[in-house]
């Protein structure tokens, strides 16, 4: 069949948007196909971007030329750095977004992108020629030829919404699910699982009595996600506050009394839900000793009265939801605009993908986002980006090496490696604790880690990257200058330092002073006075990063050494056609798991659950003996 398109992206959510954007940037004629062009990059759940591990991920997407960070900056209405008092690696920037503005922003960027066309429609099947994907069949019967496709269908695959006993087949509230596509994936021989997630009620903001709640302010000096925002006015939208309330004894009582009406509890919903995002039923049952749980009151935008109740997702019937919401301080009169609901949907077990997010069994087909068993906009976007680039590379005839990110390089790399080696038994969310090298994956270093790679694949032009590179250069120069600036304990210096409460007994450097745990903020000006050239030009964020890099230098160095060591062992490749079943000593169970996952390296093999260190040693022994045999 004739390829009208290089790449077709199915789905216009956060994964689809980044996939289409990336594919077009790599230079492929790309089509984004979605049911509703008005719902591009819609925030189906909380109106927020970023957070711990997620904020870092948004920066990575930004460093790779993606859309999410910039769109969040332009439409954010409340910015906050989480863990601000901690080290840079575990801080996470988050913003509340104007939901509608965000969707518009991304939609406009995509529409303006050369090489990229947007079209309404839905895929229903795959056209395969000689074992390779050659096109997509749409629900209306039309066939679209393409060289590669990225499916990002979110929660739409046989989506089923539950509110109490009421059920409705839907991909999101009021939107049609994709049934044919799910069958088509099954038809390819892929193993399909079922997951569930939920979203809390939305209430009318004007029906809330905020005087009974706690006001939560954003940061006084908001930080931006994107490097692009430094080149324009930021923040663009007026900033608003959020509010905090909590459940009460009455709430818990109501929930306990009505548990039998919750499909989550009555056994109707079988899909696995996320433990880090439990429903309120779950929280009340599992943590029975807690007398209250926090509920976050978040506006969905500036021009809307819709308000999101974070922490209150549930699947109870609408009448109970009314009572539950009204048992919260400040929400006694609340008017529910849309009830909370649980949704079950099909996922493709992600062990069936390789680390470019390609389906192993059907060259040309890529999957990204919730279809792979993840949750979260950021997780979806990160996958979309990787799948989009790789789909484009396949469409262009694989001229360039696949675009993959290592676990030590990016959270996106950690996530994809986890997915394709460990699989996902519950909706997967990024956590900093999943990254063994998280010290190196701070949001402040995303550009240093990724920009060159982004440029190499055409995701950033030289012109776009120039300000980033200038900034990195400034940082390097400042660090060198501080490391080389001698501070001698002469009378004048001692007096000046003493005035800031800093003692000095022997010669040190500017960096040496900053390394002290008690270094006062006033040192910045003092040092800038001595090393004006590179230091004077740094903004607050750059300065903070500089101080952090100096303070964490020792730890970072150790971390890099560990990586080197681990990598040498773990990077040992396992041939794609390796036969696990005849490996002496390997248990049948381990062999079966390995056959299924087909790890590319020994490191991946060792992370597969059920594959013990002893099993890895057996593999290593087999690989080594194989090599000996080949070389002799």
């Amino acid at each position: 069949m004739k390829a009208h398109w290089d790449v077709v992206v199915v789905g216009g959510g956060h994964a689809g948007a980044e996939a289409a954007w990336a594919s077009a940037r790599v230079g492929c004629r790309t089509l984004l196909l979605t049911r509703d062009l008005g719902a591009i990059a819609r925030m189906s759940c909380n109106p927020a971007i970023g957070g711990l591990a997620k904020g870092q991920t948004v920066r990575e997407i930004d460093a790779l030329g993606g859309l999410m960070g910039w769109a969040a900056d332009r439409t954010g209405i409340h910015f906050k750095v989480l863990n601000a008092s901690r080290g840079p690696a575990v801080q996470g920037l988050r913003c509340q977004s104007d939901k509608a503005a965000y969707s518009r922003e991304v939609g406009q960027r995509l529409a303006a992108r050369p090489n990229l066309e947007l079209r309404e429609g839905a895929a229903a099947g795959f056209v395969v020629a000689e074992g390779v994907l050659s096109g997509l069949r749409l629900e209306d019967g039309e066939e679209l030829g393409c060289r590669a496709a990225v499916v990002t269908s979110g929660t739409f695959l046989r989506g089923l919404i539950h509110v109490g006993a009421e059920r409705q087949a839907a991909g999101r509230w009021g939107e049609m699910p994709c049934v044919d596509l799910s069958d088509a994936l099954r038809g390819l021989g892929l193993r399909i699982g079922r997951m569930k997630t939920g979203t809390p009620p939305r209430v009318a903001g004007k029906s809330i009595d905020r005087s009974k709640t706690v006001r939560v302010r954003g940061d006084v000096a908001p930080r931006a996600f994107s490097f692009r925002s430094r080149l324009e006015r930021f923040p663009r939208l007026p900033q608003v506050d959020c509010f905090l309330t909590h459940t009460t004894e009455r709430t818990h009582d109501l929930i306990r009394r009505n548990l039998d009406r919750s499909p989550l509890y009555s056994g109707v919903i079988r899909g696995r839900g996320p433990r880090y995002c439990p429903s309120i039923e779950d929280k009340v049952v599992r943590f029975a000793e807690r007398d209250r749980h926090q509920i976050f009151i978040e506006p969905e935008g500036l021009d809307t009265d819709w308000t999101y109740l974070g922490g209150l997702s549930m699947s109870l019937p609408a009448d109970v939801q009314d009572e539950v919401v009204r048992s919260l301080p400040g929400l006694e009169e609340a008017e529910i605009l849309r009830p909370a609901y649980a949704i079950e949907y099909d996922v493709v077990f992600p062990e069936q993908l390789d680390d470019t997010l390609a389906v192993r069994e059907l060259p040309g087909l890529f999957l990204a986002g919730q279809i792979n068993g993840t949750s979260g906009y950021e997780e979806a976007a990160g996958q979309g980006l990787v799948a989009g680039v790789n789909a484009a590379l396949v469409a262009k005839g694989r001229e360039q090496a696949p675009f993959t990110l290592g676990r030590h390089e990016a959270y996106i790399g950690v996530m994809i490696d986890d997915l394709v080696t460990l699989g996902a038994e519950e909706p997967y969310r990024l956590l900093t604790s999943r990254a063994e090298h998280r010290l190196l994956l701070g949001g402040d270093t995303a550009y240093a880690r990724l920009v060159e790679k982004g440029m190499a694949y055409g995701l950033l032009t030289e012109e776009e990257a120039a300000p980033i590179q200038e900034r990195e250069e400034r940082q390097r120069a400042a660090r060198a200058a501080l490391g080389g600036s001698r501070v001698l304990p002469d009378r004048g210096t001692l007096l000046e330092l003493e005035a800031m409460g800093v003692g000095l007994s022997e010669e040190t450097t500017g960096a040496g002073l900053l390394r002290r745990p008690d270094a006062p903020a006033s040192l910045r000006d003092w040092l800038a006075g001595r090393v004006r050239e590179p230091l004077g030009g740094l903004d607050d964020e750059e300065w903070e990063r500089l101080v952090n890099e100096i303070r964490y230098e020792g730890f970072l160095k150790r971390e890099r050494e560990v990586i080197e060591r681990v990598r040498r062992a773990a990077d040992r490749p396992v041939p794609a056609d390796f036969r696990y079943r005849g490996v002496p000593g390997l248990s049948a169970e381990a062999a079966e798991k390995l056959e299924r996952h087909r790890p590319r390296t020994l490191g991946q093999a060792g992370r597969i659950p059920g594959v013990t260190p002893a099993a890895v040693t057996l593999l290593l022994a087999r690989l080594a003996s194989g090599e000996r045999r080949v070389s002799s």
Partner: protein, 444 residues
């Protein structure tokens, strides 16, 4: 000990071997282990009364057939389904009457029907590969098989019975608990109160001390087959070779009244206080121009440098070798030899006479006591790897205080857990998240 993953050819085979010690006991157990289905089929040919669908762990009475199909014995048979068996595979145990001849008939019968005789350690290796025992216990089984002294056997048995695994498991549990506290606060800052972090960090300090203590209990350990070395050194004619012979209880080294008799380092195994020790006699240390003797003195120096304990022999009234002649860092026990002869006495030195036997018992006891530092005080241990893992776990936690930063401490605790995993073969990643979610109510 046979390497755990050495020659592993033929691992899909059904293995057969006698599972009880050789000898004519009342009962002997012949064990078959292998892939599910094949073991039962094979066992039913040998013991026809086993039902086609036996109940696991139930005893069936059956005749046992030999190669030709005639009844060789009769006894109980137990069937264990995979993975609930000692090796994790399908296992059948035949309880035969204990004569070695009968056991051999049954093993041969199994071999004729397609089983293969198990090599030493092969059942253990399968148990390990299937996760039925941890690494420390598997290694204990290997060490026990090769134990050549009471001490080695005792420590190996400690491993087999899981003494080390248990203590390591307790420490691992503690570190994992700390990690859960730290990671929950790092990853769910909005849900989990920061309070409690300081006390979690403080627990790291005591865990570190406990790791070092356990390392000293486990002792320096020996690579398989390597035993502690005790080297006798001293001036020529001090009576070293005579002492060497007396300790061994045989005339192994030449003795003459001439100074400079011993020319080469002579080594022999002997058992002292239940421990196997390599005892080395050496040439007397002195400046010399004679070529052969000089080579002997050099050999003595090398032997001394590799010793775990030096016995410095000094004739009553004679001189000790200068400190500079002895290698640094090796513990030294100075002896006054020829105690039966008159001469000047020095306080505090052990006096021995190889001729009368005076002081030899005390010397043996003293050697035993001094070797504890390298063999360990604990009732388990044996391999240097285990102590190294404990020490590297402790080292990973060095330099951490109750101030944090928490993400650095968490990284160190992970490294510590990883090091402990090298003893038991476990990893912690998945467990961590499970525990966070069951301990803390996190997420919106």
């Amino acid at each position: 000990m046979a390497p755990l993953v050495g020659d592993a050819a033929g691992d899909g085979d059904v293995l057969v071997a006698r599972a009880t010690p050789v000898g004519t006991g009342a009962l002997a157990i012949v064990r078959l282990s292998g892939p599910a289905g094949r073991v039962l089929a094979l066992a039913r040919e040998m013991a026809p009364r086993i039902p086609a669908r036996p109940q696991a762990r139930r005893a069936y009475l059956s005749p046992f057939l030999d190669e030709e199909g005639s009844v060789a014995d009769e006894g109980l048979v137990l069937w264990f389904a995979s993975p609930a068996s000692s090796t994790g595979e399908e296992v059948v145990e035949l309880q035969a009457h204990g004569s070695p001849a009968v056991v051999e008939l049954l093993v041969a019968s199994a071999v004729s029907r397609g089983a293969r005789r198990a090599r030493p350690g092969e059942f253990t290796r399968r148990a390990l590969a299937n996760g039925k025992i941890d690494l420390a216990r598997a290694e204990g089984i290997g060490l026990l098989a090769g134990a050549a002294s009471r001490g080695e056997a005792r420590r190996a048995l400690g491993l087999v019975r899981g003494e080390l695994s248990r203590k390591v498991a307790a420490l691992r549990e503690e570190l994992l608990g700390v990690l859960v506290e730290l990671e929950a606060r790092l990853d769910f800052a909005e849900d989990v109160e920061r309070d409690g972090e300081t006390s979690a960090l403080a627990r790291i300090v005591s865990a570190r001390a406990a790791l070092r203590l356990l390392a000293s209990e486990a002792g320096a350990g020996r690579a398989p087959g390597v035993v502690p070395t005790v080297v006798i050194v001293g001036a020529p004619n001090a009576g070293k070779s005579t002492l060497f012979n007396a300790l061994l209880g045989e005339d192994r080294a030449l003795v003459t009244e001439l100074a400079g008799t011993t020319r080469d380092a002579v080594a022999e195994m002997f058992e002292v206080e239940g421990e196997r020790v390599r005892l080395v006699d050496t040439a007397g240390l002195r400046e010399t121009t004679e070529r052969l003797e000089r080579l002997g003195v050099e050999a003595a120096g090398r032997a001394a440098a590799g010793a775990d304990l030096l016995l410095v022999a000094r004739e009553a009234g004679g001189e000790s070798p200068a400190r500079g002649d002895l290698p640094e860092g090796v513990p030294v026990l100075v002896l006054e030899t020829k105690a039966d002869l008159p001469g000047e006495r020095r306080d505090g030195e052990l006096r021995v006479s190889a001729r009368t036997g005076e002081g030899l018992t005390a010397l043996r006891r003293e050697i035993g006591a001094r070797l504890v530092s390298c063999l360990g005080t604990g009732e388990f241990g044996g391999l240097p790897r285990q102590r190294e893992a404990l020490l590297s776990a402790a080292a990973a936690l060095d330099g951490l205080g109750a101030e944090g930063p928490a993400e650095i401490a968490a990284g160190a605790v992970r490294a510590g857990l990883h090091a402990l995993g090298e003893i038991t073969g476990e990893t912690a990643t998945e467990e961590l998240l499970d525990r966070i979610f069951s301990t803390f109510c996190v997420g919106k």
